[in-house]
Symmetry: C2
Subunit: 333 residues, 2 copies
DNA sequence: ATAAAGCGAGTAAACGCTTGCAAATTATGT
DNA sequence: ACATAATTTGCAAGCGTTTACTCGCTTTAT
């Protein structure tokens, strides 16, 4: 006995109305007599009818699905953003199609096309930056997109972020205030505008304000990993730096561990500020002081913004900057 | 000038063939003359045709989409599993719809219905355990499901795991070998069969083997968080335990930190073994020894298994247990 | 009492694709 | 050259919904 799928027709028949009426009650359309609605609802329940979202999508041209593109879901930074997105999405009854950016560069376009072919109603992008090509593809579709924790140099694309420059400016200023003259800036690839432009700008700005000359010897580039952090410590130490601002928590944890292990006391002999305030900051010993990006909120706001765009609502701010704060723990004085 | 969506008809017209032929070349059907195929491909490229996956889904009754249900994406344990799933899924051209299990209990059923309404071709579940109700809903659909890092008491449902009991047995045996008589078992909710049954069984078994009496005073239940770990340390210490096996990394990290802070040297005065070998183990100082669950692989194998089920291939093993290993770092002797 | 307006429900045409079947074309063997 | 087989194509019927349009029946106003 094969299990038959219950369709709108079956419900219509059992409830003695036309399928249009079923559709109306399922969609909450007001043009249905209360009595009929009740009867239909009952039948739906009895037959265990489950509207086919694919068919609905085809007929309505809405999939109630959004595409989320991120580099790596095991990176707590993105996972936190994703959680914010997910919560708001489910609040608005959207489903999320998650896709990771693979190593290979070229496939960003392919991922996008795949998502568009699935008729997603919107997109959230958390990669490093949108390529021209991708932007073009996006432009030719009408699918709205917003960047979360990612920036668009030209502010053409909607995005939600914190003011990276400002945050780093503050951090560095505090370090300066603590008497440091040589402060290392340890970032990921400087090609990524967040590190290479915004954050570095904040660093430079703070130094300038304090009349300290910028020296590229104090700027380090490393992969975002504990190992890379451990490996770079010697270089950082040898640069003469007495404090460091690190753009990512794993990296910072690695540096911290190497420092402690090599006998450099943190924060007494060396202060460390990191950037993402993931749970890692609480796991290291000493616990790390960090910029607190409201990651969950960034994701949530990005998703909320996207729902507005999908509803064609008026958007007042294309680029929203959320407030950040600074959490002092034990890696700074 | 409104942008028109390019459909299969447009391509057919431009290529001077019927839409059926377009469909065939898009689907790689062999019954197309090479010359025609080339021409069509060219037109597809020129018009920038992107097949509508929703329409395909409706016509073919396949969505090339699977649903993934997990408790919390910011938990590295699940994130790692998810990554394995994602990679294999994209290898097989499936998309993933990610849904988080909210706090509220009752909605598991709703989540499932939503996913089924989206016509997912398969499901991967990583929650604590499938409720009867959910199982029933699942049974009435034909959608295959596999559990990843989650267990089914009755082995009715396909699942991929490690042998939790065996792993813990080994850990505890090593601790016993190191001379410990009082070993704490610190888990999450013991209602969860993984902790409360499988792991605890391994613990008991190892004690028994060593002729050590099991004492419930040495069994602790705590939330999976750093704070909970820090908070529980005193109780653990006061129980007289000289070593602990902890079922989750955050929790272990909290315990470790409190121990060190309170002057108890790890591993000299107290040994700690944890369970998930997430990156946290490398971030704490001392770094933590851990069972190494091949999380990524579990996810990957689960997804692979699911593809087989979706293809109606013969499955030899309903329940697959992957090999685990034990990584010794600095929290044990 | 009667026309206008409104409500509730049905009809049928999309939506963009897959696919079984039949028709047309080309290749093969004699 | 002809029949037959094999290869390519086209036709059209779905797939399960949504949604304009219509239509009959009540209300309401006059």
């Amino acid at each position: 006995m094969e299990k038959k799928v219950v369709t709108i027709y079956d419900v219509a028949e059992a409830a003695n109305v036309s399928m249009a009426t079923i559709s109306r009650v399922v969609n909450g359309n007001a043009n249905v007599k209360e009595e009929t609605r009740k009867r239909v609802l009952e039948v739906i329940d009895r037959l265990n009818y489950r509207p086919n979202a694919v068919a609905r999508g085809l007929a309505s041209k809405k999939s109630t699905t959004i595409g989320v593109i991120l580099p790596d879901i095991t990176d707590l930074y993105f996972a936190s953003l994703a959680k914010g997105i997910d919560d708001v999405a489910s609040m608005y009854k959207y489903n999320i199609i998650l896709t990771s950016l693979q190593e290979s560069i070229g496939d960003e376009e392919q991922i996008l096309n795949n998502l568009l072919s699935k008729q997603v109603d919107g997109l959230i992008y958390m990669g490093k930056q949108l390529s021209k090509k991708v932007k073009r593809t996006l432009g030719s579709s009408k699918t709205p997109i917003v960047l979360a924790g990612s920036v668009d140099r030209n502010n053409e694309t909607a995005s939600v972020n914190i003011d990276f420059t400002d945050a780093v400016y503050n951090i560095i200023s505090q370090l300066v205030q603590n008497g440091h003259k040589k402060i290392a800036f340890v970032g990921g690839s400087l090609e990524n505008p967040i590190d290479g432009k915004y954050r570095l700008d904040g660093y430079k700005k703070a130094l300038k304000k304090a009349h300290i000359n910028f020296s590229s010897n104090l700027v380090f580039e490393a992969e975002y990993s504990v190992r890379a952090g451990e490996a770079i410590w010697d270089a950082v130490k040898n640069s003469g730096a007495t404090a460091a601002y690190v753009t990512e928590d794993l990296l910072a944890a690695g540096i911290l561990n190497s420092a402690m292990k090599s006998g450099t006391k943190v924060p007494e002999d060396f202060e460390i500020f990191t950037s993402n305030n993931t749970v890692l900051c609480e796991v290291t010993r000493p616990k790390m002081s960090s910029i607190e990006e409201p990651l969950y909120d960034i994701g949530a706001v990005a998703m909320r913004l996207l729902t507005k765009m999908m509803n064609q609502e008026q958007i007042d701010e294309n680029t929203v900057k959320l407030p950040y704060s600074i959490v002092k723990r034990e890696s700074t004085k």
